[in-house]
């Protein structure tokens, strides 16, 4: 909290309010605009999800029919199962990869800046580019498998992209490549902010580097861990462009994800009502992640102020 008005001066003078007017304008106008934007369109989508809209939005009321249709469809069921698998695998693996990279970079090595940029760089690439490049690399006919075959190891197989059981893992691979740098950056910042005295105290007590990390440093990182988890989870739930470029939901419909189903229903099948229902279901999944996080933050802050 960097509150400028100190409580000791009591009520701020009028000139103070005028002086801070630009500040208020800068913060509140965009905030209100985007909140209104977000809320009005969310409400609009919720409304559409209860109407019989197909090609264009229409009024009318069909109750839960769009929801039952979406929930009963194979596409949605596959998408939901994939989301559970993709979400947990991606979040967990990117967390572990990011943490490992951060710990390795934290060893006061030479060229740290260069390495950090390299690991962070994929984040600057758009998901469509990531998806397209990986779709080439992972295609057994032209990518890694062909390279290894050409090198002489002809029995080598790496055809996950066209294997319907493994295709979802290609998305996990590409997503980790893209965003573990982000986890690394946050963890690195966390590692650097650990009080040097604590580490020294641990060393004096005779703890080795592994023990120091495991028992002393890592426990201080858990607020960052939760932030990383929440950010990555909301990415996983809304993942669209990466999948569209990499597998486009295929082979067949094996790598469907909720966002793809929404797009498909709305813009490929001209079923706006059902698409809106699927979008609202996605919103509910997101809320299931974000509300506990918000509650946790609230509790944390209260505890901090009370202490």
């Amino acid at each position: 909290m960097t509150d400028i008005a100190s409580p000791a001066t009591g009520r701020p003078a009028l000139s103070g309010v005028v002086g801070r007017l630009p500040e208020y304008l800068m913060i509140w106008v965009p905030l209100l605009l985007s909140a209104a934007h977000l809320i009005s369109f969310s409400l609009w989508t919720i409304w559409i999800s209860f109407t019989p809209s197909t090609l264009v939005p229409v009024t009318g009321w069909v109750g839960m029919r769009n929801y039952t249709a979406v929930l009963a469809s194979r596409n949605w069921q596959i998408a939901f199962d994939n989301l559970l698998l993709f979400g947990s695998a991606f979040v967990l693996l990117s967390l572990v990869t990011g943490l490992m990279l951060a710990i390795l970079l934290d060893q006061r090595i030479r060229g740290e800046n260069v390495l950090r940029s390299i690991f962070l760089y994929p984040l600057a690439v758009s998901f469509v580019v990531t998806g397209t490049v990986w779709s080439w690399l992972l295609n057994p006919g032209i990518g890694i498998q062909k390279l290894v075959h050409d090198l002489g190891w002809t029995s080598f197989r790496f055809d996950w992209l066209v294997d319907r059981d493994m295709a979802i893992w290609t998305i996990v691979i590409a997503a980790i490549w893209q965003s573990s740098g982000f986890a690394m950056a946050l963890f690195l910042a966390g590692l650097r902010s650990v009080d040097a005295d604590i580490i020294k105290a641990a060393q004096i007590d005779g703890a080795g580097p592994v023990r120091t990390y495991w028992r002393v440093i890592l426990p201080t990182l858990w607020p960052i861990t939760i932030t990383v988890i929440v950010v990555q989870l909301q990415f996983a739930i809304s993942a669209f462009d990466l999948v569209r470029a990499l597998t486009n939901g295929g082979p067949g419909i094996a790598t469907q994800l909720p966002a793809l189903v929404v797009y498909d229903l709305m813009f490929q099948r001209s079923q706006l009502g059902r698409g809106a229902a699927a979008a609202v279901l996605m919103l509910l999944i997101l809320l299931a992640v974000l509300l506990p996080y918000a509650a946790w933050r609230y509790v944390q802050r209260r505890r901090a102020t009370h202490a």
């Binding site: 090609l55 249709a69 469809s73 194979r74 596409n75 295609n139 319907r164 082979p251 067949g252």
Partner: protein, 428 residues
Amino acid sequence: MPITTTRRRLLAGSVAALALPSFARAQSAVKPRLTAISQWSAGSDGAAITALGKKFEEKGGVWQHSPVPGFTTEMMNKLRAQIIAGDPPACSQLKGPEIAAWSKIAPTVDLDAIVAAAGYEKVVAPDLAKLHKPGGKWIALPLQIYSTNMLFLSKRAMDKAKTDKIPVTWADFNDLAEKMKSGGITYPIANGGTRPDDGQKFEASLAGISPAAYRAAIMNLDKKALEGPEIKAAFVQVRRISEWMDPNVGAQPYATNLKRFIDGEMGMMIQGGWAQGVLRNAGFKFDDFIIVPGPSDNGKPVFLLNADAFIFWQRKEPDLQAGQTLMAQLVMDPAIQTMYSQITGSIPVRTDVDLSGEGWSDGQRRTAAALKDAVANNQAVLSLAHNMAQENGLTAAMIDVLTEYVKNKTIKPEQAVTRLAEAVEGAR
């Protein structure tokens, strides 16, 4: 003051009388302008519509075409946005049952008078005409026809298989594929793996096994026919096709394999006539491949109709209205249809165009003959994979099942039959 009013009215009347002829003259002298959207941006499709635009300009019109590359649905998103904004294009690509569906959300132009003046109705296949006059009035005009189940044979692959017997039935087709395989061709089938491509494999199989079952199950969604033995037989055939394909094709378009097909590394392709345009546009020669009607178990050609069309949206601007009239006349013109089909590899909608002359391929002549035969034998049916048989929502639900079946070889034909019937039920 009655007198003043009268005088004023008189004055106004005479001004109007003076202005009227010049207004009429201005209207007839207005330069026809056409705003059009379509998905045709590149390759032979792009070349064809650009040539059509040139003709439009030669007739004194202003041609404003905005292509939206991708599948038809991508074009529809732009169309939807423009209609909701109250600014539809004067003319847009649209086809099949979508013409009826979309005509309910925005007013269209009544083309009856122009169609009658051109005597067009007499030269269009009746089933096709019906799709373009949903409320009994012509609101859209078909431009070109493809059959989605043409069989493309690679000459070099035929040499490797040491045969020149053209397959007629599915049994012949399967024989030839086996021969190609023993002739050293690892993947006798050169198809791609996109959704429409997977749908085509199924519709070609079913229509070739029984056009009557296709009509009942796919076009009329008859529940009994959907669970009938022909559907299962079609899935069995699709499985054989999928086993002769390169598994690495993933979701790539068929065009990826064209070179391997021509080189004889792959042997056959079940594709629409547009593949001829793409092959020609890529520089391959007519000597490299043969196009014949797709396999049909009763020996008579089966024609899976796919027709591209333009729908005309109501506009108030006189120049756009003049442009719509000019465009309609051009689309119905036999010379324009000839020009267009010769570029894209389709056949003209008009049944009175002579295809014996220069510029037509044997494949196109065979396609046109197949259409005539198929119509006579009631074996011309509407393509599912290319959105001619059902509206988008139903089509997509059915293609979900088909594409999953092609990609997932553990699904049994019986399971696929049940899933297809369930998908239809769920999407209705």
